[in-house]
């Protein structure tokens, strides 16, 4: 089981990093989601892998599993869920406003200067 959990985390991270390095917003978001899944699985495993053990005190328990990683992973899931929702909205708004879903900032310099106004740097001075 250790091998399974470890390789699952590894594969999730690899997929996440690969998608993160793509040039368009949708693969990047999916990559971020994969990375946060990997973090969640990893956090589960930090309290050691234990099966069929209760996390709270019970009189007839033979042993316990660490409850703290479950609390940590719950917090992490909530935060990454909210963040994913935010970045999806952000990507959509960006796509609708600029007409492109590229991640890079190549167009930034053009976009920063209002298009309709003259550019005195190029010599077109308003009369």
């Amino acid at each position: 089981m250790e091998l399974l959990v470890a390789s699952a985390t590894g594969v999730l991270v690899a997929v996440g990093v690969y998608l993160l390095l793509r040039g368009r917003t949708f693969p990047v978001i999916v990559g971020l989601t994969f990375l946060s899944y990997a973090a969640n699985v990893f956090l589960f495993a930090i309290g050691r892998l234990a099966i069929n053990r209760p996390p709270i005190i019970s009189p007839n328990a033979s042993g316990y599993t660490d409850p703290l990683p479950q609390a940590l992973v719950l917090t992490a899931i909530v935060i990454s869920f909210g963040m994913t929702a935010l970045i999806v909205v952000l990507a959509l708004r960006g796509f609708l406003e600029t007409g492109s879903d590229r991640v890079d900032l190549d167009t930034l310099d053009d976009a920063r200067a209002p298009r309709k106004k003259p550019d005195p740097g190029r010599g077109d001075w308003p009369a």
Binding site: F42, L43, S80, L86, L90, D109
Partner: protein, 510 residues
């Protein structure tokens, strides 16, 4: 009295809730509530600073759960200083935002308060996982503030900013997980005692966790090669947000100092001084990179952004020594660079709004209104930023140079700091002379009188007065900061305040 420690997190949270729930549609009342809450926060943080000035760290146990199990907030000189700096900066920036920026989108004041909640929490928390949570609170609010006002370039830069911070958060989780897996605790005081006791087989895991944490903090502190998000983000956001974000890079520097002096400090056994080999070289490259970037900037805003990168380099060169003179100099430079950077961002905005379509681009344009006043303020801010006498930048850089004398490779570091100062002078001189002296067409002075409010200029003047005050009161300030640095570098009082016992006593008892 020590119940006051929780107020810097509770007050902004309650204010933000009030702003969203009760005052959503009433901008005028939002402004009153926001200013009043920030003024109260400033008063309370000053009170906390007085409380902490006796050199005794204090712990606040939430719900009165005993320390390694419950959530704990810790107030010591370092966190109190950062709290005062944050609330003072927020209090000064808020009037600037009220001049009109806050009306360009919704919920500016609520986001502003949430941002203060996250920053204050990050400075107060004594627990690594809570540091993660407060980082997230701070970042979520900063996404909102960064995108405030909207517009295509801001959205584009915002996506990158959010994406890089999500990756950093994921790394933070992996690092925290590794540290918990090995030590079984995330309480910083508890970790300080346990790290030295780790079995040899687990040291590699703990070390990877600790260094991953350093990557996360380096992203926040804009350390090369993890700095590239900063110029794009800060240049695209609104001026008050950029000015407030000046404190966010400092959160990264604070976290580096807190974690690597307290947990992985001199007494951490095999993992002692873990960050020491990594920070100074990266900081020197950061300084050089930022200064060269200043020469390549085409707008005043970009110039200031690259100056922020360079100033983080200077700060971390001093901080990376982790000794008393170095950390004292770093704290002094931290306060100076926060105030100066905020003033520069607001000045860039003042210039841009007066230059019509030329904005803050470094090309000749018709002379701006109130050119003498704004130009004079820019001159003062540039002097402070570059590190020329008499303002605090000069004293800060002098302290950094003095602290590094005798450190390994100090001639190189001195050369880097002094050489980049020259590059900064060239950058600021070019920007200032283009913006204020090279009028493209002398007859084209815009006729209409400047009906804009005087308040934003007063805000900038007050920020600069802060750096002037810091240089006038340099003697008492450095003495006070030296005490704070000594306290920050000594884990034992901190551990005693949180756990009730000495780190070494605890370690020996195991």
């Amino acid at each position: 009295m020590s119940n006051l420690i929780v107020v810097p997190t509770v007050l902004p949270a309650m204010t933000a809730a009030l702003l969203i729930l009760a005052l959503r549609h009433d901008l005028a009342r939002q402004r009153i509530a926001s200013v009043a809450a920030t003024a109260a926060l400033l008063a309370i943080t000053i009170g906390l600073f007085m409380l902490a000035s006796d050199g005794q760290p204090r712990a606040y146990l939430l719900g009165n759960w005993p320390a390694p199990f419950g959530i704990v907030l810790v107030l010591d000189g370092l966190s109190a200083t950062m709290l005062v700096l944050t609330s003072a900066l927020a209090f000064l920036i808020l009037p600037y935002a009220i001049k009109g920026w806050d009306a360009q989108g919704r919920h500016f004041h609520a986001l502003f308060q949430f941002q203060l909640l996250g920053i204050n929490g990050a400075f107060l928390t004594g627990d690594l996982f809570n540091l993660f949570v407060f980082f997230e609170v701070m970042l979520i609010a900063s996404y909102g503030l960064m995108l405030h006002g909207g517009g295509a370039p801001r959205l584009k830069a915002g996506f990158q900013y959010v994406a890089i911070n999500l990756v950093a958060s994921t790394l933070f989780l992996f690092a925290v997980g590794l540290i918990y897996a090995v030590t079984g605790t995330l309480n910083m005081a508890d970790l300080a005692g346990k790290v030295a006791q780790i079995a040899a087989g687990d040291q590699a895991l703990l070390k990877s966790g600790a260094l991953m944490l350093l990557i996360v903090f380096a992203i926040k502190a804009a350390l090369v090669p993890l700095h590239w998000w900063l110029p794009a983000t800060y240049a695209a956001t609104s001026a008050p947000s950029a000015a407030l974000f000046m404190i966010m890079t400092k959160v990264g520097a604070y976290s580096i100092l807190r974690v690597y002096a307290l947990i992985f400090g001199a007494e951490a056994g095999a993992l002692a001084q873990l960050a020491n080999p990594w920070i100074p070289p990266a900081a020197i490259v950061t300084l050089v990179f930022g200064s060269v970037g200043m020469l390549a900037s085409r707008t005043l805003r970009d110039l200031v952004c690259f100056w922020v990168v360079a100033s983080m380099g200077t700060l971390l060169i001093a901080l990376g020594t982790f000794d008393l003179p170095g950390v004292t100099a770093a704290l002094y430079y931290l306060i100076h660079s926060t105030l100066t950077g905020a003033a520069l961002f607001l000045l860039a905005d003042l210039v841009a709004e007066r230059r019509a379509q030329w904005l803050d681009r470094l090309i000749p344009a018709p002379e701006i209104q109130r050119a003498t006043l704004i130009g004079g303020l820019f001159f003062l801010a540039a002097i402070a930023a570059v590190g020329m006498p008499p303002l605090s930048g000069f004293i800060g850089k002098l302290m950094v140079l003095e602290a590094l004398r005798g450190a390994p490779g100090w001639p190189l570091i001195w050369f880097a700091i002094l050489g980049t100062s020259l590059l900064m002078i060239v950058g600021f001189a070019h920007a200032g002379s283009t913006l204020f002296w090279k009028s493209r067409d002398a007859n084209k002075i815009v006729e209409e009188s400047d009906r804009r409010s005087f308040l934003p200029i007063v805000v900038v003047a007050l920020l600069l007065a802060g750096t002037a005050g810091l240089s006038v009161a340099a003697g008492p300030a450095t003495r006070s900061l030296e005490g704070i640095a000594r306290q920050a570098l000594d884990p034992n009082p901190y551990v005693r305040a949180v756990l009730g016992t000495d780190a070494r006593v605890r370690a020996a008892g195991r």
